[in-house]
């Protein structure tokens, strides 16, 4: 896009993830509010009744630390909650308990592989291509939900007080493709951590991109290829930013950003600075639309939540929160240990369900014994391909899957006599292919292999056929004697 040589997109992300804890953030109500009758999953605390007090959920705090660690953040040893004030009917206290200047985790990063863009293995070494800085990870409470029924607006507080983690990135993105890949990776990580379903459609994961553009002067144009993650390479931030809300898929995030960039460029080219505001996204029309002017942070009148003492985390407490193997590490292991192709490893590791199924199969005792007995060194690769090519469904019970897999991997018993006779006959009948092969066309032999396999109805090992074919063709003296 030529226009983008004059204006550089500056995109940051605010990501909300609802934690899958048993109880809500500050009370005993269940965190799982899905499908419940409105206002049945509430108590004095999450309704914000006079006199009710919040008591923080330890598990939610631990899980936020876990997310922080998985995103390479520094975990603050002292952290506190703050009140963020604004009026909205779904916010029963008139303030949200959130975190302001001492969040649980700060200064992290998320690295993205080049291969994740195309799912094509360009470079098989595990070199990180882009780092996106994470500003902070903090913990807060979700709000209630407004339901619009005819001309009435109803409030359902079932969701009020559900633990919500906010992940904020630096404005390190300059295109919507990077954003999409980043989000897919983040979603996968969150799911690996087992802390949330991170489901965009259900709203357990929500994205708010901040989009703006900066005009580049000639000098900056030379430096435009800055390295993400390197603050020194950053250009000065624009004076405004537009936040887009209510987006419920990664695809729409990309579309909304692209639309915003176009819209803002059109304004900027006319010499108009876009308004600082919050905009909604309409996926049908693929447009964003103005909602309200965005408050500055200071209008929220943040101050330390007096109802909750500050939290102090010991080194030991933080160390005991262990990050499991993350998708990238697992992908590396599949490549290095099992010899999977990078794109196969990528497909398997994308879904936690698939990768866990795969792990269950390959570590199964029966499978391991089979592998040792039959000396199938690349068994894991076979299993991966069976899954990827959907030869077997991962919906199958593990035992059934294993039984069928082992049948498929059973080395072929070869009827030697039949095979030898068949090979002799074919070599005589297919003189052209034989000649081609002799002239150096390696592929010609594959034609013969195919013929043999068909005659043998698959009951032969391809490797054996090839070696026998080669031997016979290059050894004509023996032919007549046989």
């Amino acid at each position: 896009m030529n226009k983008l040589t004059k204006f550089k997109p500056v995109i940051g992300l605010e990501i909300h993830v609802e934690l899958k804890t048993k109880s809500k953030m500050f009370c005993q109500c269940e965190a799982d509010y899905f499908g419940k009758e409105p206002n049945t999953n509430t108590c004095p605390v999450c309704l914000g009744l006079p006199g009710a007090l919040p008591v923080p959920n330890r598990k939610a705090v631990e899980r936020t630390i876990l997310i922080g660690k998985a995103l390479d953040c520094k975990i603050n040893k002292i952290s506190k909650f703050d009140r963020k004030h604004y009026f909205y009917p779904d916010l029963p206290k008139g303030y949200q308990i959130s975190q302001y200047d001492e969040p649980i985790a700060v200064k992290g990063k998320l690295s993205i592989f080049n291969n994740q863009y195309s799912n094509q293995s360009q470079n098989s070494n595990s070199e990180f291509d882009k780092n996106f800085r994470i500003t902070r990870v903090h913990l807060e409470e979700d709000t209630g939900k407004l339901l619009h029924v005819g001309s009435d607006t109803l409030v359902d507080f079932n969701r009020s007080g559900v633990p919500l983690v906010e992940i904020v990135t630096e404005p390190d993105f300059d295109n919507s493709d990077d954003v999409k890949v980043f989000l897919e990776e983040l979603q996968t990580i969150i799911r690996y951590l087992g802390v949330s379903d991170a489901d965009m459609e259900k709203g357990t994961m929500r994205i708010e991109p901040n989009v703006s553009l900066i005009k580049l002067n000639l000098l900056q144009l030379k430096n435009v290829k800055r390295v993400p993650g390197n603050p020194k390479g950053s250009v000065k931030l624009p004076k405004y930013k537009v936040e887009v809300k209510n987006i419920n898929s990664f695809r729409f995030v990309k579309d909304a950003i692209d639309y915003e960039l176009e819209r803002q460029i059109a304004l900027l080219e006319k010499g108009i600075t876009p308004k600082q505001e919050t905009r909604g996204y309409d996926p049908d029309k693929k447009i964003t639309f103005g909602q309200r002017s965005k408050e500055e942070a200071h209008d929220y009148r943040y101050f330390p939540e007096p109802d909750i003492p500050p939290m102090t985390f010991s080194e030991k407490f933080i160390a005991e929160i262990k990050v499991p193997e993350l998708p990238q590490e697992r992908l590396d292991r599949y490549i290095n240990k099992f010899g999977l192709r990078e794109q196969d490893a990528f497909v398997i590791t994308r879904s936690l369900q698939t990768t866990n199924y795969f792990e269950t199969i390959i570590t199964d005792k029966v499978v391991q014994e089979f592998k040792a007995k039959k000396k199938i060194s690349n068994l894991e690769d076979h299993v991966a391909k069976i899954i990827i090519n959907k030869k077997l469904s991962t919906d199958l019970q593990v035992r059934a899957f294993i039984k069928k897999t082992l049948e498929m991997l059973q080395p072929k018993e070869t009827d030697e006599k039949l095979l030898n006779a068949l090979i002799d006959r074919l070599i005589e009948a297919s003189s052209k292919a034989v000649e081609d092969y002799k002239k150096g066309k390696e592929n010609a032999i594959m034609y013969l292999v195919g013929q043999v396999m068909r005659e043998m109805k698959g009951k032969a090992d391809a490797k054996i056929i090839i070696s026998k074919l080669k031997a016979q063709i290059s050894n004509p003296q023996l032919k007549s004697k046989n």
Binding site: P44, P50, G51, H85, Y95, V155, R301, F303, P306
Partner: protein, 455 residues
């Protein structure tokens, strides 16, 4: 049986001994309430059909399940809590029952009950005067013996101040000693529920019932709860500190009675020495800023969407506090006001901590003047802060502070005397008060008050 003037524990004993029934007891107090409350206006809600349990008065700031709870604010005129506050629940478990919800300054904003949306409470000693506040209904109800004991809350003096003006015993415990769960929040980092009684024994008994860690209040303390009733009877001699700065600008009659009380303490064998405490004026500034900030936040839930009555129902004082608090939390002012006030609060805490290395307890006057005439509220800007100037330091630091009567002034109005102690040292405070009670019977003040209100 003549029940008039009997302490809470005496009444409890009569019930245990089956000399009276709970019904008789409740009817007795209901009759007195019927007789005197129209004049005193100590109660907002009276539970006329409640005839069981040992009756007491609960400030209308404690949420009581199924019983209207207003915080004396019309905004909550129709609010019937679906849950019980921890304090009133614990009292239920101790066999007690709120006979009524006592009047107070709206949202506990004030030291007079003048700001109550349900009318001012009259001081039982002089019905033309304030009972003090904000727990003025509770103090007046005990002083006129409409109940034998009551529960109040103290943010910057709201138990101690009316206790002093009505001539009863009121304890603000250490912050975190008693759960705030179910107490309609005023200044969240200050609010302390506490007992108001006619005897020190009653006070120790009630504190024991309501104190302790609460899983519903993250700021409640896990420190062990002593058996205060035993603690007060131990023979102890204390090192007592007196801070000159607490006598500046205090009415001479009050000073004289306080000095007289200190003489009694010396006579009882306690050592008394001067100490240096930061002048109370610093606490007033800190309190005014931080408490207003918290108020503006705590009241934001009354946005007109729930509870029936919208924001137009807020009274003048609440609006003033919301505006001041909102201002101090605003961008550009937060650092200048809130943050600095927090720093000074820390200095005040350190000041008390270092003084308590030298002395066990600190004593002094409770209020600068005795009960003012109704209407005089308007004469004083920051009236509450002025009246509570000697109470706000202990609130700022979060230490316990007790008010006991030590005599009457020339208008026959009670004079309050304060005993401050170190964190979680309510036992020693009550111990000293008990020694004083044994020695002086509070110069007959409490009895005189009750006797004015015959059966």
């Amino acid at each position: 049986m003549n029940l008039h003037g009997k302490s809470l524990l005496e009444l409890r004993q009569l019930l245990t001994d089956k000399k009276i029934s709970e019904k008789e007891l409740n009817l007795y107090f209901l009759k007195r309430i019927k007789k005197y409350n129209p004049k005193l206006n100590a109660f907002i809600t009276v539970l006329e059909n409640n005839h069981s349990g040992i009756p007491y008065g609960a400030k209308d700031i404690f949420c009581t399940k199924g019983i209207r709870t207003t915080a004396a604010a019309k905004v909550l005129d129709n609010f019937i809590p679906p849950y019980e506050s921890t304090v009133t629940r614990k009292l239920q478990e101790a066999g007690m029952a709120a006979l009524g919800k006592t009047n107070m300054d709206a949202w506990a904003h004030g030291a007079s009950t003048e700001t109550s949306d349900y009318g001012v409470t009259k001081n039982p000693w002089d019905n033309g005067r304030y009972p003090g506040g904000s727990s003025g209904g509770s103090a007046a109800a005990i002083s006129a013996y409409l109940v034998s004991a009551a529960i109040g809350t103290d943010t910057g003096g709201s138990i101690r101040h009316p206790s002093a003006w009505c001539g009863v015993i009121g304890l603000k415990p250490t912050y975190g000693r008693v759960s705030r769960y179910g107490v309609i929040a005023m200044g969240s980092s200050w609010d302390c529920p506490g007992p108001m009684t006619l005897t020190v024994e009653d006070n120790a008994y009630l504190l024991k019932q309501i104190a302790g860690q609460d899983k519903y209040d993250a700021t409640s303390s896990g420190s062990a709860v002593p058996d205060y009733s035993n603690e007060i009877k131990k023979n102890k001699k204390f090192k007592i500190g007196i801070a000159e700065s607490y006598f500046d600008g205090i009415d001479d009659q009050i000073k004289n009675q306080v000095y007289k009380a200190i003489k009694v303490l010396k006579k009882l064998g306690h050592s008394v020495k001067p100490i240096k405490l930061l002048p109370p004026k610093y606490s007033i500034s800190v309190y005014t800023i931080l408490q207003r900030a918290e108020v503006s936040s705590n009241l934001s839930r009354y946005d007109g969407v729930r509870y029936g009555n919208d924001r137009s129902f807020f009274g003048q004082e609440a609006k003033r506090r919301i505006m001041l608090g909102t201002y101090t939390l605003s961008y550009g002012y937060y650092d200048a006001y809130y943050k600095n006030a927090q720093k000074v609060r820390t200095i005040i805490i350190e000041n008390f901590k270092s003084v308590f290395k030298d002395v066990d307890l600190i004593v002094g006057p409770n209020t600068p003047v005795t009960a003012l005439k109704i209407g005089e509220f308007d004469k004083y800007p920051f009236y509450g802060e002025l009246m509570d100037q000697l109470n706000e330091p202990a609130s700022t630091a979060g230490i316990p502070d007790l008010s006991i009567p030590v005599g009457l002034d020339s208008h026959n109005l009670p004079i309050g005397f304060k005993i401050m102690g170190n964190y979680f040292d309510e036992a020693n405070i009550l111990n000293l008060a008990y020694q004083f009670e044994k020695e002086t019977d509070f110069f007959g003040v409490i009895k005189k008050g009750i006797e004015r209100y015959k059966d």
